[in-house]
């Protein structure tokens, strides 16, 4: 891998069985001719760095070659809004996927990873360096709404300040925290004091508000059955209607990024992704890390391993969507009803399959850099048959869900036209996954930025135009069907795979030490949406900065848009339909 372009700008090469995928990594492949070779130059993929540089004008300090995006520019701290505005309006980069902040020995840096909803393979990174003495740069919030929370997180953990930000305060850590834990001079042994605040007294707020209007303040959470974990919603009600809602997160901030920075690329990081989105979606998360590190270290994954990965990841997606549907029913119907029990029953079946394959029910730790840890269990044929049995009975189970849920009039009354999220708003907030697809945004990284074995298989991206709670549930149920299709094809492939050719892992060195200053940002389509991983190497066997772009973090940000003006009961339904998992929101 070369220094100036450490990571190929195209999707991970090893995942592409097509000729041009091969071309990316090895000139030795026979069908490489200069024509195709040139195809890997970013320009032909629709991003013309020179044009972008002209567009950005004198905001640009220099071109940055470290990042794997098609183009990366360092811009002046006071020209962030202009630059992003230009890229958004005139070059079509309408998706602010992630904001990464980090501290170097001599400076702070914020990186804005931009993509296009129409074509996520087109990427641009805007790098904003600021001095150590005064780490202030312009906020991107006026251009991209989603930058609000991302910048708050950057401020909280790293300590970069954003001018013009509407509400720059801590987001993950308690407000009384001292110091920024991911900055270089953070003192871990310093005692910290955390408050249990009185502002949380609903009656007090009520009486204060009485003077002017009839609003009432209600805390929903952090311990509440409807919040799916430890989320706190500061809700102001006007009668039964939600006048204002503000999610308060961080009750499960367990330092995932720090933990990854303490681990070695080769072995120690992989167990952690399982715990980001922990509703059995582990393998999808592991893939996010695997994809990033394989891109960074230029590892090629054998096809056979890719098929196993694709199959097991889709099984995870089925399990994750089942839970989403089951708990949504729990939210809407308010009790442990049949739907929840059915969902758990079907999850148990999937978990059994995954346990046979990986050895664990929930925290699989099955992927390895360059493949998977082992082959299908013996006896192979019996395993394949069990998977097929499951797939065979799945349509009937789905039928039941449709009967109980989507076909149910009461359910429809609750969900149709509540929690409306127009597509434009969804994009503003960087929403992805079923939340975006339920708003008609046709965006799925499995198809748009292919990896694994997806582009070899026959399946469809599901979208619904309803934009409401109902549409989001429908998308999930329909995606289960598509996942089943994918699994079915993978099983066929695995069954027919020649025994001599079953390579489950590429040959990867015992220690991985990516080149110094290599950077990578890669995303996959996890159960909840675009799950990205940013890593920067400092030449050692551990990443110097590890950042997780969590789909739930961005999706949850849309909650006020969904819920304000609606009834409080619909707030609960909207929250359920966003299907957040706090492990991933707070990391």
């Amino acid at each position: 891998m070369s220094t100036d372009r450490p990571d190929d700008s195209e999707s991970e090469s090893e995942s592409e069985p097509e000729p041009d995928g091969d071309v990316e990594r090895e000139a030795a492949v026979p069908e490489t001719d200069p024509e195709v070779q040139r195809a890997r130059a970013p320009a032909t993929r629709g991003v013309d760095p020179d044009r972008l540089e002209r567009l950005l004008g004198d905001a640009v300090l220099r071109r940055d070659d470290q990042i794997n995006a098609d183009a990366a520019f360092e811009v002046r701290p006071d020209a962030v809004q202009d630059s992003l505005e230009t890229l958004k309006r005139r070059a079509g980069f309408d998706h602010l996927s992630c904001v990464t902040a980090q501290e170097y020995a001599d400076r702070y840096e914020s990186i804005y990873h931009l993509k296009k909803y129409a074509d996520p393979t087109q990427e641009v990174s805007i790098v904003v360096p600021t001095s150590r003495r005064d780490p202030t740069s312009e906020s991107a919030e006026p251009v991209f709404r989603t930058a609000d929370w991302h910048e708050r997180e950057a401020y909280d953990l790293v300590g970069v300040e954003y001018e013009d930000h509407p509400d720059l305060r801590r987001i993950l850590l308690p407000e009384t925290w001292q110091g920024h834990p991911l900055s270089r001079d953070y003192d871990r042994d310093r005692p910290q004091i955390v408050t249990l605040d009185e502002h949380a007294n609903p009656l007090k707020e009520d009486h204060e508000a009485e003077a002017d209007d009839s609003t009432m303040f209600v805390n929903i959470g952090p311990h509440h059955p409807a919040t799916h974990g430890v989320l706190h919603l500061k809700t102001t009600l006007d009668g039964e209607q939600v006048a204002d809602v503000e999610p308060d997160i961080g009750y499960l901030h367990r330092c995932e990024e720090q933990m990854a920075q303490l681990g070695t690329y080769r072995h120690q990081i992989m167990p952690y992704p399982d715990r980001w989105d922990y509703v059995s979606a582990g393998l999808l998360n592991e893939w996010a890390y695997a994809r990033a590190v394989e891109d960074m270290a230029d590892v090629e994954v054998p096809d056979y391993a890719q098929v196993i990965r694709t199959m097991s990841a889709e099984l995870c997606r089925i399990a994750a969507h089942m839970l989403a549907v089951g708990t949504f029913a729990l939210d809407v119907y308010g009790d442990f009803t049949a739907i929840f029990m059915y969902a758990v029953r079907d999850r148990e079946r999937v978990q059994n399959l995954l346990e046979d394959l990986t050895g664990q029910r929930l925290m699989f730790n099955y992927f390895r850099v360059g493949g998977v840890v082992w082959d299908l269990p013996e006896d192979r044929q019996a395993y394949v048959e069990t998977v097929r049995d499951f797939l065979e009975e799945l349509p009937q189970a789905l039928e039941e869900y449709h009967d109980l849920l989507t076909g149910n009039e009461i359910f429809q009354l609750r969900c149709v036209d509540t929690g409306v999220l127009p597509p434009e708003t969804a994009k503003e907030y960087g929403a992805t996954g079923p939340v975006a697809r339920g708003s008609g945004v046709d965006y799925d990284l499995r198809r748009d930025d292919p990896y694994g074995y997806y582009d070899e298989l026959d399946w469809d991206v599901v979208t619904e135009d309803g934009c409401d709670n109902y549409a989001r549930v429908l998308v999930r149920l329909r995606e289960v069907e598509q996942s089943a299709r994918i699994v079915e094809q993978c099983v066929d492939l695995l069954e027919g795979w020649p025994a001599a050719d079953r390579e489950v892992q590429a040959n990867v060195p015992r220690t991985l030490k990516p080149e110094k200053d290599a950077e990578v940002y890669r995303a996959v389509e996890a159960a909840k949406g675009e799950l990205g991983v940013y890593m920067r190497s400092d030449g050692t066997d551990k990443p110097a900065r590890f950042k997780v772009r969590s789909p739930c973090f961005s999706n949850l940000q849309t909650l006020p848009e969904l819920a304000e003006g609606e009834y409080v009961a619909d707030l609960v339904a909207s929250l359920g339909s966003l299907d957040i998992v706090l492990g991933e929101v707070d990391r």
Partner: protein
């Protein structure tokens, strides 16, 4: 009629006489019949109460992290914790007597968890589920992670694992029932991290710095990371 039959008849008569009139037939259980003519059992009141407590436990519906997914599976079909008289999740701490702590406890949540625990009526029991609640688990080195639930509340049963399988949690709950039946519970002692009023904290550098921000009588939890395991 033989004498034996006479005896039986006499016994039945005595039993019926003792049962008294007016009791609906539907209440006559087989168990009661087994007691024969002496419808009394002799036991210590405490023992009886503990047996009742252990056999009918109301769990708090309380999820934190990954472990709560396995906890849900334990409550739901297949594992069905309810079979053991311990499966009805209550949404409010005021109606619950067992709290399963299923997941990582972090600094922002610990005061809230303590508050929830305090709101449960006595006698109350705690099952800590997963390595995170034993020691911080995989996140032990995290700057924000409390190294185990026992730093904050007393714990009766630890169920190790990451996550423990539902079978393990069932076993843990069964063990808890055994302990309760025997009248054992873990002692309530002062924990490393307690809720205190800010004004009561020892004035040191850290406290001085926050004096502007925090009211004297606000409840706070102070974490001494250097001293924690």
């Amino acid at each position: 009629m033989s004498t034996d039959d006479d005896d039986v008849n006499a016994a039945t008569k005595t039993r019926e006489a003792r049962r008294g009139r007016g009791v609906d037939d539907r209440f006559n259980s087989k168990l009661r019949e087994a007691f024969g003519s002496t419808p009394f059992i002799l036991t210590k009141f405490d023992q009886f109460m503990n047996w009742v407590r252990g056999s009918s436990m109301f769990m708090l519906q309380f999820g934190i992290a990954c472990c709560s997914i396995e906890m849900m599976h334990t409550y739901a079909v297949k594992h069905d914790l309810d079979r053991f008289g311990a499966g009805v999740p209550r949404a409010s701490p005021r109606q619950a007597d067992v709290i399963v702590v299923p997941g990582t406890v972090v600094s922002k949540f610990a005061p809230r968890m303590k508050r929830i625990y305090d709101q449960m009526p006595e006698p109350k029991f705690v099952v800590s589920m997963g390595s995170c609640t034993v020691s911080g688990g995989p996140f032990q080195q995290g700057y924000n992670v409390v190294k185990g639930a026992e730093e904050v509340i007393p714990v009766d049963i630890h169920v190790p694992g990451c996550p423990p399988r539902p079978e393990a949690l069932v076993y843990g709950v069964a063990k808890l029932q055994e302990r309760i039946t025997n009248g054992e519970s873990s002692p309530v002692t002062v924990k490393p991290y307690e809720l205190e009023q800010f004004g009561d904290l020892e004035r040191d550098e850290v406290v001085e710095q926050l004096a502007e921000e925090i009211d004297e009588d606000t409840l706070v939890m102070r974490y001494d990371w250097a001293g924690s395991p």
